[in-house]
Amino acid sequence: MCRGINLFNSKKIDEMKKSIDKWEKTTLEESLKLKSERKKEFFTSSNIVVKRVYTPLDIANKDYLKEIGLPGEYPFTRGIHATMYRARIWTMRQFAGFGTAEQTNKRFKYLLQHGETGLSVAFDFPTLCGYDSDDLMSKGEVGACGVAVDTLKDMEILFEGIPLNKVTTSMTINGPAATIWSMYIVTAEKQGAKKEELGGTIQNDILKEYMAQKSFIFPPEPSLKLVVDTIEYASKYLPKWNPISISGYHIREAGANAVQELAFTLADGLTYVEATLERGLKVDDFAPRLSFFFACHNNFFEEIAKFRAARRIWAREMKERFQAKKKRSLWLRFHTQTSGCTLTAQQPYNNIVRVAIQALAAVLGGTQSLHTNSMDEALSLPTEFAVRIALRTQQIIAHESGVTDTIDPLGGSYYVEWLTDKMEEECYKYFDKIDKLGGVVEGIKRGFFQKEIANSAHKYQEGIDKGEIIVVGVNGYATEELMPVPIFRIEPEVEKKQIERLKRVKMERNSKKVEEAIDQLKKAAEKEENLMPYIINAVKEYATLGEITKALKEIYGEYHELLIY
């Protein structure tokens, strides 16, 4: 990188240096004598030391065009589009799902009625882990923290009356992503839509499952192979679909700090690119459809710097490491969700404020879509009332705050530019460490990421326990009074209803055809073919998620976590 004075006149910089020296000896010293600062040192959440004040000196050596640039142009620090929110507000996409497909279908329609512009499906844990609702492992979990999907039938009900060629849908599904996506594709086709019209995202980021979230099924290598199958299939048949959403959100929620979230997520992304290139695809044929998903926490400027750094690093790596040519291949497009783990069960109404701050940081960071958490989520799944306030928070930012009128309004801030550089520098340090370990998969096997994340979670809790970190309403400004919010409840009959439907589907289907389809799938898996056509075929015959997963477990085996804490 070019170093020297680029942004300002060198004579002026010399003057500034002198002025700052003088300021430190006079104005500052006098102030400190009167009252010392609250802490000896100030840190961001990633332990980056924050200086007292930032001045032009902190960014004087930047090469504006090369390192910051203009919106819509390399290296995209200021945003991937030339017009950003002046042309189009981000997609307001609220994650929702609970109980049966009928109930979630109703919630989707409610959200669309209230101005939501895209759907996002939360599945229950059995679905996330590839179990049917009647499996022993599923007991107590059916429909509890997401919607239960066992067969194509559930998917058909989930999107009844919602035209899938008009809305875009994001699905948080990883281990069994290929199967759930197949169910979605078949449902859309049954509605009369064409594959090439379908827009949306499957999370499908298996690497972070071993680090966080933990809804893995198979070991890392065959899982990575399945991810490449979906990327390849999308690049051929569903050009508007994002076959992967490379996610830092769960890594962050599991305890990682902002730098770790940034570094581990981008390292995962680079691993998917390498694996897909090995399959023989050309970088510009699939890179434009890779998408990202980050968390947004309370440390306002650090989050904004994280998003800006992420865009710049990704663009550089895609261009220089993989020689991508298309502009879209260089774009880091991302979804943001405000941080669940910053919400408090104590004084839950305060969470509305936390969500607003985090959502604002995501917008200032240039997000393409946003989910705002509801105030009651430290207590239960959100009520409709709470979800509406969360959605309104986004709408207030979009229409009342004025932050959408100009692009990257914090670009050029001495602090934000400095911090963006710092995040990038720290990120590359992690890239080096990961390379030395032999890459992401090897790092997972050795427990590197798991340990890093657990350490950060521990450190954060220690900070709270010692009172070094104040969480309002928890270890500061706590009150005895209860501030009750209404609790959202799942009706207990969900499990029974779901199991009954599964039984009915199994009785009505052609079981011989199901057997054949599963058999063909297994053979294809052994021959390392792309499994998408075989899974779609099985799904059409109403093979269950559990049956398909079980068949693949027979070929691939199962993953068991390393017990690291």
Binding site: F125, P126, L128, C129, Y131, L136, M137, S138, K139, G140, E141, A144, C145, Q213, K214, S215, E253, A254, G255, C341, L343, T344, A345, Q346, A378, L379, S380, L381, A454, A457, H458, Q461, I464, D465, V471, G473, V474, N475, L482, I487, I490, E561, L563, I564, Y565
Partner: protein, 135 residues
């Protein structure tokens, strides 16, 4: 037997993968001098009870953030009863509404810790519970 360490089995029943809290607790309990057996995620109630008996633990600590608490806690209490191991104290934490917390405590869960609980509070409570039992 003052020197004897308190033995705690920590596990996540069912399929819930939210393991940040339980790991932080595991480390804090270990650092406070307890013997911690960490079973990780995806355990059936049967596996948890079996291990608790085999390992002769004083406490089973469960973490549930997936909404399945009204199934898993009672099921584990029931299995302990069937195995005549009711002396093992069951505690837990997670996203558990107040109303359910009260119900579970009535059933025999000795303590439920919600979000925001400090690790000192958990350590203190375990020492109280086990101290009482041993006296």
């Amino acid at each position: 037997m003052m020197a004897e360490k308190i033995r705690v089995l920590l596990a996540k029943p069912g399929l819930d993968g939210h393991d940040r809290g339980i790991k932080v607790v595991a480390r804090a309990l270990r650092d406070s001098g307890m013997e911690v057996i960490y079973l990780g995620i995806r355990n059936t109630p049967e596996q948890i009870v079996e291990t608790a008996i085999q390992e002769d633990v004083d406490v089973i600590g469960l973490s549930i953030l997936s909404g399945s608490h009204m199934y898993h806690f009672p099921r584990i209490l029931q299995l302990l009863k069937e195995r005549k191991a009711e002396d093992i104290v069951v505690i837990g934490g997670g996203i558990i509404p107040q109303e359910d917390k009260e119900k579970l405590e009535k059933m025999g869960v000795k303590a439920i810790f919600g979000p925001g609980t400090s690790t000192q509070e958990i350590i203190k409570k375990i020492k109280e519970l086990i101290g009482n039992k041993k006296n």
